[in-house]
Symmetry: C2
Subunit: 500 residues, 2 copies
Amino acid sequence: MALVDEIEEIAKRRGFFWLSQEIYGGVSGFYDYGPLGALLKQNIEKLIKEHYLQEEKCLMIEAPTLTGIDPWVASGHVESFTDMTIECGKCGEAYRADHLVEEHLKVKTEGKQANEIQDMIETNKIKCPKCSGILSKVYDYNLMFKTYIGPGKTKLEAALRPETAQTTYMPFKRLFEIGRKKLPLGVMQIGKSFRNEISPRKALVRLREFTQAEIQFFVNPKEKNEWDISKVKDVEALVLTKQDQKKDGKPKKMAISDLVGKRLTNRMVAYFLAVSLLLYKKMGLDAKKLRLRQHKDNERSFYSSDTWDVEFMSEKYGRIELVGVADRTDYDLKRHQELSKQSMEVSVDGEKFIPHVIEIAYGIDRPLLCILESCIRQDGDRTYFSFPPSVAPYQAAVFPLVNKDGLPEKACEIYGMLRKKFLCLYDVSGSIGKLYYRQDEAGTAYCITVDYDTLKDNTATIRERDTKKQVRVFVKNLAGIIEKLTNGEINFEDAGKAIK
Amino acid sequence: MALVDEIEEIAKRRGFFWLSQEIYGGVSGFYDYGPLGALLKQNIEKLIKEHYLQEEKCLMIEAPTLTGIDPWVASGHVESFTDMTIECGKCGEAYRADHLVEEHLKVKTEGKQANEIQDMIETNKIKCPKCSGILSKVYDYNLMFKTYIGPGKTKLEAALRPETAQTTYMPFKRLFEIGRKKLPLGVMQIGKSFRNEISPRKALVRLREFTQAEIQFFVNPKEKNEWDISKVKDVEALVLTKQDQKKDGKPKKMAISDLVGKRLTNRMVAYFLAVSLLLYKKMGLDAKKLRLRQHKDNERSFYSSDTWDVEFMSEKYGRIELVGVADRTDYDLKRHQELSKQSMEVSVDGEKFIPHVIEIAYGIDRPLLCILESCIRQDGDRTYFSFPPSVAPYQAAVFPLVNKDGLPEKACEIYGMLRKKFLCLYDVSGSIGKLYYRQDEAGTAYCITVDYDTLKDNTATIRERDTKKQVRVFVKNLAGIIEKLTNGEINFEDAGKAIK
């Protein structure tokens, strides 16, 4: 059995994630993040957040996930956010009609309309895969979770948001005022979104409740191609354009400067694709499995003039879309203006216009799964996660060599000192080998051992997870050294005196 | 007009929070956090999170907010999480029946049953306050938002969670395994919860979607009164017991050790009340407005044997419950065991039992409002927020004295250096007085000014928000000094050479 096939089982056992509501049989499309997964997820969010707040100078907002229906009428989600669905007349099971046809006939259905899918089902006499019952007509099923706000007759029709984007567009004019009427204006939102998928699959790849980090850049349309890409121009990527998908379907290696030079997309989209690639590498994703893919004309959302994804080619789950960078034009703001009768126009440098939006839409759950796939390692009977230290759930763990003679007390003292600076663990239950093994399984970056010499000369051993190399350092320098190692400011070999 | 009465208006203008979906007329009970509010909120979460992860060694998990209905059947929410509601037969408006009676008759209705409220309405001929229409019968209205998961006939009845707690109880046995079968086991969850209030009021005090930080300590019932309170025993608080509420209703000043000594509650509850008080003081809440109040027997939730709140006595909003510390006994785990048929029993040190739960349930939105009330200051025509530096949305801002002669370039360079370490702003638009004013309004802790001397001797001025005092420091030390000031490791006077 390949290591990647064990990931879901390992994730459950070690506490990364498991199907939600297990004791009641589980609910598909919903996962709990366990103690390791929740910390790993926070570190992914932190990397993205810090980059956009500090480097791209974005504002951050947080809007509710439950809203009235108006924004989704404006955005087109009420009308168009649907999947073709079909139900069994006998057992009641529902299926995505296009997927059912694809699986049954081994054909592609991309771009096909509901009536064409209906024809294919009838012609080929496709029955319910579960009970062989007769299937209903294909119908459009809206993927928003709907509910009502307030009681009684005056209750308000409501929906859980299927994306954060619209909840950032609604207060645009207020944000523009707060940002002192300047463009570009970048606004980030990190939070939950919801899609009532018909048959969610593939662990964290297709969830009904998921976390997004979405950034909306409101820009003067001219700015899209005036963006400064100098910091990322030499970043290389495997690129699959919409043209190449029509031709040989093979991605080509090129630099970001080529992407712009060949006018394959605008400078802003190119820049944020590069930024995303760099962020994924920092998170520990296997760079060889990443590529950029442009949406084809028939797959692109109705609101977008150009969309690109960064994709991870998973050994287990196939192609996983990690982030979408889309030129949403002025579509959404115009629609909100029409429906709300509130002007979305701005006046900047003597020009009046409705801003365009470049959206960078990160999923947070999917990269977590890709990090596990990228970082899992087997080394003899040792299975471990080689997470980058800054992304690892715990940066360090502290053990006493033996559970007596004052060593636990000393180790606790060190643990107390370190845990003020970063997340770390104290463990005492088991032999030193067992203690190491347990931390390797959790992907803890550094293990610190306190032994008899520590009591004499106030030094301790740091062990690096991947290489199992060890260095000896002064206790008083431990916190600083672990911080420098975590931030990549020093090499492990230079952290202290090597132990042979 | 008192300063506190302006808080909602100021919050909207400066970007702390505003009613959600404003362009569509707003939806009551839902607020957007703007750029300053979102950062302030994150800092509140961070303080609580760091304390419980690092000091109390809790595990962190994250469960979905949307769940099947089973856990809420088990918890009693389907049956009992209701408010007495009444509707107008004419205009359709709905009201909380007990509140309507209280307002109309100026009486207390605490503890009254639906039929008693119904009688009071009929006897006093209370009509719809809006249109004088005849009111319906009083009925129990369930406060959970309900929806369905999946399509068609096999769809699953679902609800948005009204508390995080049950979503932590469900995977208890898995968490117990991951925590290596030890008690006490503390598990924290920070996330959204939802209550479909009939008439939400008071800005962030009563929201329909809100953020909680809830910690569940699974314990051997014996441990509740064996908890080490030595770190907090001398913490003093205004305490209002359930007995005193029956008598004079006056809180008494006492130390946490007295609370335990007089057997007013168990050591665990007392400890976490003290921890919460200390956290609120760190956040900048006015300590004089904080008190501990024990729930009376007739107000306590059915699952709890003893509950205490930390309350903030707001000048504008009255009594605000900030955190509830409750002894939930083994009620919830037992109920889940009954309904799911999965054992919740553990075996520890030769004993077999279902653990008890001590819950510490923080709201995150309410303290944010209380921080604004506690920190707003007027000083001549200057209105500012005296946030503790570690809680302030931005720790620092950097300006050039004038927008020419190479000063903006130098200021930008410093800004680039600082923003790698903490959140800061760069601003250049306006006179230095205007720049200071703007940062004071945002509660930015420190302003750094770059002037002609900076170009000569590489020093810059740091100005403290509250005192307007200034010191001169070397640019190379800036980041370290701001960090030490923020962490309270040095006094401002000792940060550099005083400028008179």
